[in-house]
């Protein structure tokens, strides 16, 4: 067993919250630059330019890329040969989040109760997912998830016999509904298969993968490419004002499912799709 003190997790979560909120992901920036070079619409070009300028300024001045610094979604892959010592894991994670949001001048956007809606003032609790994996390391990913796009996400339970065309229609319909509201150009995380909640979880997790890397399964990679192409022909464009840059990336994660079902979840994300990761 390798012992890891949870204070190391606190420290890592703290760093990752700041990094994710100030430094736009390289893959996202790359896609924005590529979009800029291909975009014909003048207004769309100007908006993409300002998104790139914003990323530069955010990094330089350590100001949040977007004021919606999100709910901190923390994914941990914990090696089964790791023994976590020195305190409770959840508490350690939330300490890191709270400290980062306070010291980093990030917005506290979490309310303690969905009905009573009192701001916790710390941006905690984080949404935490843990996986037990092989090995003696802990991989931590933090993604601050904004709700302008989260609100436009959707899940649907298809028939197992439904054709892929219907799945595509659902995904594209979700993008159209998100329209100008959810800060296009979008990044889509899509879950295919599993159960109701597993599918939504996969959609969320898919957003962590660099958008220039395709799914290892050939037919899924093909679906990703086709969806991206079709979404970019919708004409929604940056901020919904027209253009052919409607999505920067489409990432699918899939899992085995039941003979009777075909769950599909679309987690919408904006052009400020943020995450950072570290392995201890």
């Amino acid at each position: 067993m390798r012992e890891i003190n949870v204070s190391e997790i606190t420290e890592a979560v703290y760093e990752l919250c700041l990094k994710a909120n100030f430094d736009l992901r390289k893959d996202i920036l790359k896609a924005l630059r590529s979009g800029l070079s291909k975009e014909k619409n003048v207004r769309a070009k100007n908006i993409i330019k300002s998104i790139i300028d914003n990323a530069k300024l955010a990094r330089k001045k350590r100001i949040a890329i977007c004021q919606d610094t999100g709910v901190a979604v923390v994914h941990l892959d914990i090696g089964q040969d790791v023994l976590l010592v020195g305190g409770e894991l959840d508490k350690a994670i939330n300490e890191g989040v709270g400290e980062a949001y306070r010291k980093g001048y990030l917005r506290k956007s979490v309310v303690s109760d969905a009905i009573e809606r009192k701001n916790t003032g710390t941006n905690t609790p984080a949404v935490i997912y843990t996986n037990i994996v092989d090995g003696d390391k802990v991989k931590i990913s933090v993604s601050p998830k904004g709700f302008g796009s989260e609100n436009k996400s959707a899940i649907k339970m298809f028939r197992p016999t439904d054709p892929v065309e219907m799945i595509k229609e659902f995904v594209i319909g979700t993008v159209k509904k998100a329209g100008p509201d959810a800060c296009p150009p979008f990044v889509l995380g899509i879950g295919l298969g599993g159960t109701f909640e597993k599918c939504a979880y996969l959609a969320k997790k898919a957003l962590l993968r660099p958008i220039d890397r395709r799914n290892p399964k050939k037919h899924i990679a093909k679906l990703e490419r086709e969806l991206l192409r079709e979404i970019n022909s919708l004409g929604i464009g940056p901020m919904g004002l027209g253009g052919n840059t409607t999505a920067l990336g489409v990432n699918i994660m899939e899992a085995p499912t039941h003979i009777a079902g075909l769950p599909v979840a679309v987690n919408m994300s904006c052009h400020a799709t943020r995450s950072a990761e570290k392995t201890i």
């Binding site: 300002s50 998104i51 919606d68 001048y105 901020m239």
Partner: protein, 182 residues
């Protein structure tokens, strides 16, 4: 197209010169308000209670900024999704609200109310809050401070870059964008 320079407050007469799609640089004082603040304002209005805010010709910015670093006026401060404010907006327009700044589509009711009261809805680019913060010269929470980031802030802006989304005649930029895409 060169941007139109505009100052707050915005009377309906001033709004009448604007057309959906126009680029505007707005200067002056604006008020931030998002979900929770709208709900409170709306509650006061429908209960007939006094509204502790002068809404006449005022501009509301749908935003909840990040706190400022020392020496800066405000943190990241881009627009939030306007449609969440739709249920409360016609009532505020009736009170004399001059304009709104946000991102995204509005409901048919809001569009109708904008036309009825001859007001204007502006779009700001979402997700560029760091850049937009450079256009904010001063900011102070003035109402509902207990709401934290959802408090109403009085903000002084200079040349804040906007696009007219819905003009006082009820023309909507997204209708145009939609037409172009089909």
């Amino acid at each position: 197209m060169s941007a139109i320079k505009l100052r707050t407050p915005i009377t309906s007469q001033a709004a009448m010169s604007l057309k959906a799609g126009d680029e505007v640089l707005l200067s002056g004082v604006i008020l931030t308000a998002r979900d929770a603040a709208h709900k409170r304002l709306h509650d006061l209005i429908v209960r007939g209670k006094p509204v502790p805010l002068n809404l006449k010709d005022a501009v509301i910015y749908y935003a909840g900024p990040t706190p400022p670093r020392p020496g800066r006026a405000i943190g990241s401060c881009g627009p939030t999704t306007s449609s969440r404010m739709d249920p409360f907006t016609p009532e505020l327009l009736k009170m004399g609200l001059g304009g709104m700044i946000g991102k995204g589509d509005r409901s048919a009711e809001v569009r109708k109310a904008i036309k009825k009261y001859k007001r204007v809805y502006f779009l700001a680019t979402g997700g560029i809050g760091a850049l937009l913060s450079t256009k904010v010269k001063a900011a102070k929470a003035i109402l509902f401070k207990d709401l934290g980031p959802e408090a109403i802030y009085k903000m002084e802006v200079a040349d804040f870059p906007l696009i007219v989304g819905i003009d006082p005649k009820g023309n909507d930029i997204y209708d145009k964008a939609k037409r172009k895409s089909v």
